[in-house]
Symmetry: D2
Subunit: 361 residues, 4 copies
């Protein structure tokens, strides 16, 4: 690319479930040029290419990186292949966007981030929910103090989902919740420990139902329920605050976000005086105020996401879902897997390499 | 009582939040005669008495037991007082009904059950949900094999609730869920261990948000989410089965129970042959069948409950919420408290005295 | 009654479906004394009396009016009997409260109002919804200009309802909607004409499904859908305004009222200039603002209603559901019956005797 | 087209709101070849062409019909232009698919149907809802007698909609409801008369809120509520039957169709004997049975629709949304406009040319 006036060239690797969404958005963006679709199954790649303006069809990553002039690649292959493909692309000097989770192991992710930093390239995770109008509004409300101190976060993401061949339900679904938490919490997602409980009642060889609990700063708690076996779909997050409580019901397009001026007040001055019983009874009061549902802008999150990928490349500034954000998510997932293997123990979260890029927060 | 033709005489102890409901139902039942309301606050007792046919107003348990001829008492006082009042009433030869939880400690409950057995008296817990049309229908469906093997149970009971002076959110709300599980599971509620995570983000001195996880037979898992800080009320239980999955949404009177013929099938024969990857992919299929919502009889659960109390006294047969059922609930709560104190460890559940009364199951 | 310190004495006539609700609320009110329950079926009256503090049981209106000292009567008998009972009670100098509809014919209602005025007695309709927290809040919002000009009102009140022996679905259910409209519209309910369409597809001898349409001031329209044959219950009213639109979903206790800052704006200045096509396209814009759900006070509407009945008697001031309000409702129902008989013609509404009592509005 | 092995060639006329959906589906269908996009705004046509495999871009219908070899055209332009474009295409021997409504006047539609018949060409309306899994399932249930006799149909289709420049809310939205009724009623939509009430409270020059009522066979009634001013979106149809009642809630993807075994039974034998009062009370009973929600196939309705267009061309058999179906819809709309102009009178529906094509029903 000579200057800012030419679009960046990108290839999408993987034409399965998610790749078409990425291809469609790169194709529609004026500052991107989609130059190739890469998939071992070239018929599948060709079928996708037909729908997105006939970019080249390529059957292997080697062929892509040697035979095509691209600035960036977007990887939408199974999680276990992310590391190898991303390392190869970074080694060839390409900026890399990776579908969630960044990798299927924490150390793999850390290698990817290290290589990108070393080469001065952008490595970004496609944590799509962080680019939704709802998540952006929630982040604004939390950062603006509208909810007060966070008291608890409860997230439910359940559905009759595809039992994945290479990852369990935690690694498949919880990246969504964890990346959202990382995005909307002012300090990012940095729990010291996490506890995971799961079940594989079908004998599928991996957890299909799971619960993830972690303490947050200030005595708060976060819980995530992920489930592949639910007959109904729920995607709901409750963010309880000391001032207000927010509910994000992602499947209710008519009222996705509700902010409740309802809650329990504890008067701390009274807590100092008096005996225990009296103080508790005296100090507690209840707010039963109005509910408010902000209107949300309407835009396609993936459109924002590919725009952010472009911006990060041109400005050199990190995105909200950069490599370090992805590592914070991986660190929790890794600890969750350890906890699960130990029957739900509190597993420490490895904090290496997960510093917040303050410039963006 | 001379014979079966005269109603049994009962007194309600406690005229606070729950006592009026008990008094109203005893008053309306033809086979019960409500003879007294007992409360330290006699004005409160008198106000209640006015609404339920003017039974006697009594200011203390001593006065009640010495001055009034009753066959039974119903205790609706704070949990910490259940043990003393029940022991006194049992010692005086009265049948006893106790609001949930049976006691605020497991050993207190076990003493109550032991004394009742020794004296040949009925001790029954007011686990109200076990007398709802929904729970009775669910039990029928589970016992009849309609759902197949239980795979997971997820229960959510959250609300902007009163922060209780003497118990935390687990002891306040989870008895509902646990007693339902005890009622609808063919083997009763007998997990070997339980893990509890909670938070007290307001500094109320006790957990206000809590999660309870326990393994069930056959690799299944049960999770209970209780919460006093939620701005909206949810009372929903999902019972995932190998054949069908049931959702009980207690706040949807138009469709309280839905049974989904949807789920994941794993073909076990294929699992024996082939290599791992192939077998898993080949063996998994999905059912996307119809949903069915059974009509439910309409009756007041507390009416059924006081009728069952009467039946247990006259027939000497245990009720579904007899002392041993109440002990199974207490045993889980006790283990949960231990787990909570230890940061979410897996705490063993004390199984003493919790045998199922087979005659009833 | 010597002075304001003694409660007023009231009898409830009719111990069927609605009478018990009235009896319970009169019984609970400190400024009322419930002295008798009157019903031809004295066993039914006695059963009710037992639950409300043992007032006298009386078998006929004659017996009630001659044998008991009452200030007021509350009539909860079938609609066709309202006129005779109320006329008799008014003639005996009693204040009268009547379950909706005030009468089953407009002229009967007008006679009742005339006699009450002549005798200086209070005649009030039990239009219960006008005493709900929701209706009171809506009236405040409309009167305060929050919604702007009313553009349309759409009300749906459907259920699997009892097919009434003496009235059709319009006279059974629409009094609720019409009395609410009368209450919340600044000018009261005074349409010049009304059109009714109905069906009796079961051959029950009267309309079981009905639609009522009437023009409101300023080009607005109101439509009411009443239905006894619906398998699900809906009670929902949409009040579209030029500034905001309000939805009252009475069966959603967690969010009964929602106020939407959404709508279509038509710029009137531009309408004057330009040609038709251009002007319309240029002038229309859309608002997609926030939604707001006000918290509502919690109280029992019938408690408010009996308090208002008391206040009207003692202050001589009309209530929002006084005789003239009831006549406005009857006038629309009468016109609706005429329209129905004529296949849906626009039937003129008789406006005699329906002046608003300005003192209250 | 030489034989059945070559795809049919089609052009889409109109690249505005709906054209892209048609273009996408023709482009994806193997038995269609999308050869051109035609729009006065050629930039808009070109933008669409880029997304659907780069068909030719054409700026006028003349140019399309003279310069391009097409078997069929699909018209997605404003309603007032349908007639002229369709007549021109039919005259040139092209099969024609027209977005709803077929035309903006009944006689225009009848001319189009007549010319198509004369030329032996397919003229089909894009009544999209008739190709949804829900409508197809409902038709099966109605035709199979599952609901019994139809008692009433209530349809609500409201939203904050675009105020159309050339049609009012009846002509914009009610074609959906009317075409569904035509599709699911065994005799097709053939009411003898219709009554329409509407309002233009904004002064937009046309009705923005409307109600359409029509008698159906056997004393049943159908009502349609269409509204451009509603802040929330509702698309719900209730089909009350003598055996069961069905509710189609199109915005509830998790339970689009519910079939309720609930209703009112009237015992006709008893109706013959006895006096009026007795008979009515004796004869009425209530069913409170289960609810059933059938699973629905998942497919894109427009895919089915373009497949049906192809099938009608190759087989010469009429489709469920052929010209005569479209005329039945137009005839009701025309009568509705007359009724509206006359203040809601019962306007006769012109039945000419609307015979059912029995082969398909």
């Amino acid at each position: 690319m000579d200057n800012g006036t030419n679009p960046l060239k990108v290839a999408v690797i993987g034409a399965g479930y998610w790749g078409p969404n990425l291809a469609r958005n790169f194709s529609a963006a004026l500052d991107w040029e989609l130059v190739a679709i890469c998939d071992k199954d070239t018929a599948r790649a060709a079928a996708l290419a037909r729908k997105v303006g006939f970019p080249a069809v390529v059957g292997s990553v080697d062929e892509l990186l040697t035979g095509h002039d691209v600035d960036a690649v977007a990887i939408a292959t199974p999680a276990r292949t992310h590391h190898a493909i991303a390392m190869q692309a970074l080694a060839e000097g390409k900026h890399v966007l990776v579908e969630k989770p960044l990798a299927d192991r924490g150390d793999a992710g850390r290698q990817m981030v290290a290589l990108a930093q070393e080469r001065g390239l952008v490595l970004m995770a496609d944590h799509t929910y962080c680019y939704t109008p709802a998540a952006i509004k929630i982040r604004d409300l939390v950062f603006g103090g509208e909810l007060g101190e966070i008291l608890y976060i409860d997230s439910v993401r359940i559905n009759l989902g595809l039992v994945q061949p290479d990852v369990d339900v935690f690694w498949d679904l919880a990246p969504h919740d964890l990346s959202i938490l990382d995005f909307i919490l002012p300090g990012g997602l940095r729990p010291l420990e996490v506890s995971a409980h799961g079940a594989d009642p079908l004998g599928a060889g991996k957890a299909c139902v799971g619960y993830l609990t972690m303490p947050l700063a200030g005595g708060a708690i976060a819980n995530i329920h992920v489930n592949w076996l639910s007959p109904t779909k729920i995607r709901k997050m409750v963010i309880g605050g000391s001032r207000k409580t927010l509910i994000w019901d992602d499947l209710n397009p008519q009222q996705r976000i509700s902010v409740y001026d309802r809650g329990v007040n504890l008067d701390c001055q009274e807590l100092v005086r008096g005996d225990v019983t009296e103080r508790t009874e005296a100090a507690i009061s209840y707010r039963l105020g109005d509910t408010w549902s902000p209107s949300l802008e309407e835009f396609e999150p993936l459109g924002r996401m590919v725009a952010q990928f472009h911006a990060s490349i041109t400005t050199k500034l990190p995105s909200p879902t950069d490599g370090s954000a992805a590592l914070r998510v991986l660190a929790v997932l890794e600890a969750a897997s350890r906890s699960l293997a130990e029957g739900g123990s509190n597993a420490a979260v490895d904090g290496s390499g997960i510093e917040l890029q303050e410039v963006l927060r």
